[in-house]
Amino acid sequence: MSEKTMEEKVEQATNSKNVSLPMSRVRLIMKSSPDVSCINQDALFLTTKATELFVQHLALSSYKNGSGKETNTLSYSDLANAAEETETFQFLTDILPKKILARDYLKSLEEMKKDDDSL
């Protein structure tokens, strides 16, 4: 009976210091990248932990810089703005594009075409 308690204690301790994101899923994502063969367990833990820190950082930075403060809501546009304006989030610009109205997009397309024609 005493050994069970010790095991539980150790598990509790490790869980509170470990990560919430599943390391197995993170490993899956890393393996999808070419040229990755073996990942040391510590490296996997660090990558998982870093991802958690990144999520916190992205959420908080976007909220602070965004207009969501008035509405007390973190919105997609806050994230898109952060991706464009913050250097460390630049790698996200492709997946977090700013949204524009369709008519504005069509307008800019037309203008681009005009420029091409005039050349």
């Binding site: 050994e3 010790m6 095991e7 150790v10 301790a13 490790t14 210091k17 470990n18 990560v19 919430s20 994101l21 599943p22 899923r25 993170v26 899956l28 994502i29 890393m30 999808s32 990248s33 070419p34 040229d35 990755v36 063969s37 073996c38 990942i39 040391n40 367990q41 510590d42 490296a43 833990f45 660090l46 990558t47 932990k49 870093a50 991802t51 958690e52 820190l53 990144f54 999520v55 916190q56 950082h57 992205l58 959420a59 908080l60 976007s62 909220y63 969501g68 007390n72 809501t73 973190l74 919105s75 997609y76 806050d78 994230l79 250097e87 460390t88 790698f91 996200l92 997946i95 977090l96």
Partner: protein
């Protein structure tokens, strides 16, 4: 539910919790924002991984395989790079360097602390399971021993009871 091999998304519930914990109390998060952050997290892993592999892939392409096989060629530096490139396992140091290169120096300190705690926890787990194994082995040994004694001697119940009592003391 079978997982599609392309499911490189992280669990929504966990992502949501991490976001909520990072933001001030009472702040809402739109569904779209949550989904976007989840995708961003997956991209982050891929981006970090590409930084991790970039260095040895470069070495490999430059120095191994493309070298002409010539018995007369003695180029010690080329051998060294090829040998360095042979290290295929990504380790903790690589991840830390990658974070620096990605300009996430703010993560370095918390990562170091987390790694220390993790290593301690792993060590504790290992010791706990080893301890468990040892105790199991002791019990098995004791059981074997008592079985042998039963076979060898024709013991009456009293003596058996005594022996069992002794064994119990040993376990405790």
């Amino acid at each position: 539910m079978a997982e599609r091999p392309e499911d490189l998304n992280l669990p929504n519930a966990v992502i949501t919790r991490i976001i909520k914990e990072a933001l001030p109390d009472g702040v809402n998060v739109s569904k779209e924002a949550r989904k976007a952050i989840s995708q961003a997290a997956s991209i982050f892993v891929l981006y970090a991984t590409s930084w991790l592999v970039a260095r040895f892939v470069l070495y490999e392409k430059l120095y191994s395989g493309n070298l002409p096989k010539c018995n007369l060629c003695v180029d010690p530096s080329a051998n060294n790079f090829a040998m360095k490139a042979k290290r295929k396992t990504l380790n903790a140091g690589d991840v830390m360097s990658a974070m620096e290169e990605m300009e996430f120096e703010r993560f370095l300190q918390p990562l170091r602390q987390a790694l220390e705690a993790y290593k301690k926890g792993q060590k504790g787990k290992k010791e706990a399971s080893e301890q468990k194994r040892k105790e199991k082995k002791n019990i098995t040994d004791e059981n074997d021993k008592s079985r042998d004694e039963e076979e060898d001697e024709h013991m009456d119940d009293e003596q058996e009871g005594e022996n069992e009592g002794e064994e119990e003391d040993v376990e405790n």
